[in-house]
Symmetry: C2
Subunit: 365 residues, 2 copies
DNA sequence: CATGTTTTTGATACCGCTACCAATCCTTTG
DNA sequence: CAAAGGATTGGTAGCGGTATCAAAAACATG
């Protein structure tokens, strides 16, 4: 299940083909009355070409609907960078968006992308690393949950294969990373709930094997503390990012004598499970219980009510990961610290949150 | 958002690179004491090479850990086929699996894949087709729901771009298609429910704009008829493949005076919605109500209980679509009828189905 | 064993593009 | 105004394979 994708960008007017008899760089050169070399320069946006010449060439390119051959290009160009995208049972909505983003960026950056699935139950870390080496992978992208697998990161490091961790909570300073500020996002969501009027807010933690989980919890605690609200242990349940674990956690929290008026789950799957439990318990969402999630996967808008959640810019993170890796591969000197990119998230309000119902003791307005 | 993926297969021991100074075909030739041409033949599995020679070459390849350059290969090879994968808001789980499958097959078939998203609200059909032509796309793959968009298929046809419809219910005989037998799958699922002892089986139809919907409904009716069970209109609700529509449909069916003991939804999203409504109504699934879906998307195993459903071999369908298209592009003569491939589906039993509770009038055993 | 065939292998010529360096051209300056 | 110097442009030589056809080797046959 390995594939190597040689990519080039179309929007850039660059691409390849060779089907019937597509125009080549020579055709363009002849049409424009210049040498192929000049055309090559124009295509690659080199600054040396005089404006007048560039325009002639551009015109010829347009006239012939010319698109350079990716194959010839990399062949002639020398350097051919190949990066791997190692994934292991992520949520499929995450994967598809991640794939589309990284594919596109790989295209623009002119590198090959090898998409590889790793079944952590069947293959040892050594085997995967060896496989990558055999495949001549220059660097790898590690989307969650792999980005937090220290053993893998170490093995990669030992093998001398640079990596970029995506969406990890704690990135070692020597490992490049792209992420959002999980802590702050959770902090903001919690503040949002507090602003809505909630003062008993439940929290479902994420899988402890992913470092982002702790960050999200930290954000929740921080907001509570800042607002002077007590942080009650009984309102916090351990989850594992799966729907199943969310079911258990929500059940536990809602079975409390004095249940919270809002539950903030560490991801959408668990939030969806919370909604299911609420419904099963006869609670209206958001009328009786506000539920919000994290990630903004497609599940968030699939269920009803649609989830208020934190949107992670998955596509952008994927592109950024490719860029960072390529940059590291090309330029990086031994001494340089690894790049840590932090992208913006967004709090998306949908239909699963509302102000809490008035407490009985408070009476009407 | 366009990308062109030049692909080659690694597992095949073919690939490309050029990073530091990877071995070339010439290195292998020297090592094996033969000409580069012979090495090329071995790599491509041509039969003419004598066994002894082939072994020498294989040994050299292994010794040098040689992997051919995809770039050089297509460049030299002449023909460079490029196929497009046009998608429009499919479920993301469907997309990711489809992507992985088609990417891999494109790799093996040695063709470039251009993944293109079409936002049907922003771009006209003419514009998309023109864009594909400008991108020199030789043929396109149309996963659902695009495969049923007659206007698009026509426009493509007029533009002379071959297409393959994936998972469509009614494929025009002149359009290549890859699908499963939706009718028979639904028939089998319905029979399964009947065998379990259900005799009042509800059905939620899919979006009428997708031809597979009708096929699934046909299968349901056929199984009922065959078993001599009456087909009751009130047990059938119209849905649109969305979770929301499933909510409404399920609500409608379960509000009946004499509700069914099982509901067969035309896809997993609507089945999940049905489970949600059942739970909200205090019904146990599968104790009080059996629910089953269709597609086996990730949602089927996300929710609880996990859904009994029909598994569509999405990955295999994607690969098949690429193969069919490539075959059509390479070999097809004008007269030949388009290929219609029908792949196997599978009925996956999980936890959402069970025999109906005994009817009160029947008493205990 | 010479000769005709069929197989297998090799030599040559590019595929379309870019690296590298030489050739022009246009300025700038003494 | 000529020489010097920088800015542009062009020529040449591959990158790593494969198509094509010729050469060599192996097998058949009389």
């Amino acid at each position: 299940m390995t594939k190597i994708l040689k990519v080039s960008t179309l929007s850039d007017s660059r691409s390849s083909r060779r089907q019937r008899n597509a125009p080549t760089i020579n055709d363009v050169a002849r049409e424009a009355g210049v040498s192929p070399m000049t055309v090559s320069r124009v295509i690659n946006g080199e600054q040396v070409v005089r404006a007048a010449t560039r325009e002639k060439v551009q015109a010829a390119i347009t006239a012939l609907n010319y698109a350079p051959s990716a194959a010839a290009r990399t062949l002639a160009g020398g350097e051919e960078t190949r990066i791997g995208l190692l994934y292991s049972n992520p949520s499929s909505s995450y994967l598809s968006e991640f794939l589309v983003g990284s594919l596109d960026q790989a295209s623009r950056s002119g590198v090959d992308l090898v998409v590889e699935k790793w079944d952590d139950e069947e293959t040892s870390i050594e085997a995967v690393v060896a496989h990558l080496q055999r495949g001549r992978i220059d660097g790898v992208i590690l989307p969650p949950p792999l980005c937090d697998l220290a053993a893998l990161v170490d093995a990669l490091d030992r093998a001398g294969i640079p990596a970029v961790a995506v969406a990890t909570g704690r990135a070692p300073s020597d490992l490049a990373a792209v992420s959002i500020d999980d802590r702050h996002a959770a902090y903001e969501m919690t503040r949002h709930l507090i602003a809505l009027g909630h003062d008993r807010i439940g929290f479902i933690k994420g899988n402890p094997n992913q470092s982002a989980s702790a960050k999200r919890f930290e954000g929740y605690v921080a907001a509570l503390t800042e607002a002077g609200l007590p942080m009650r242990d009984e309102l916090v349940a351990q989850g594992y990012f799966t729907y199943r674990s969310g079911l258990d956690a929500a059940e536990h929290i809602l079975a409390l004598a004095d249940p919270p008026t809002a539950i903030f789950a560490s991801n959408d799957d668990m939030a969806a499970a919370t909604v299911a439990i609420a419904h099963r318990s006869g609670l209206d969402v958001p009328g009786d219980l506000t539920v919000c999630g994290f990630d903004d996967t497609s599940l968030a808008t699939t269920i009803w009510p649609e989830l208020t959640t934190i949107r992670q810019p998955i596509n952008a993170m994927a592109r950024a990961a490719v860029e960072v890796l390529v940059r590291q591969l090309k330029g990086r000197r031994k001494g340089d610290a690894a790049e840590h990119l932090v992208l913006d998230y967004a709090l998306i309000r949908r239909q699963s949150d509302a102000a809490p119902r008035m407490r009985p003791r408070l009476g009407g307005r």
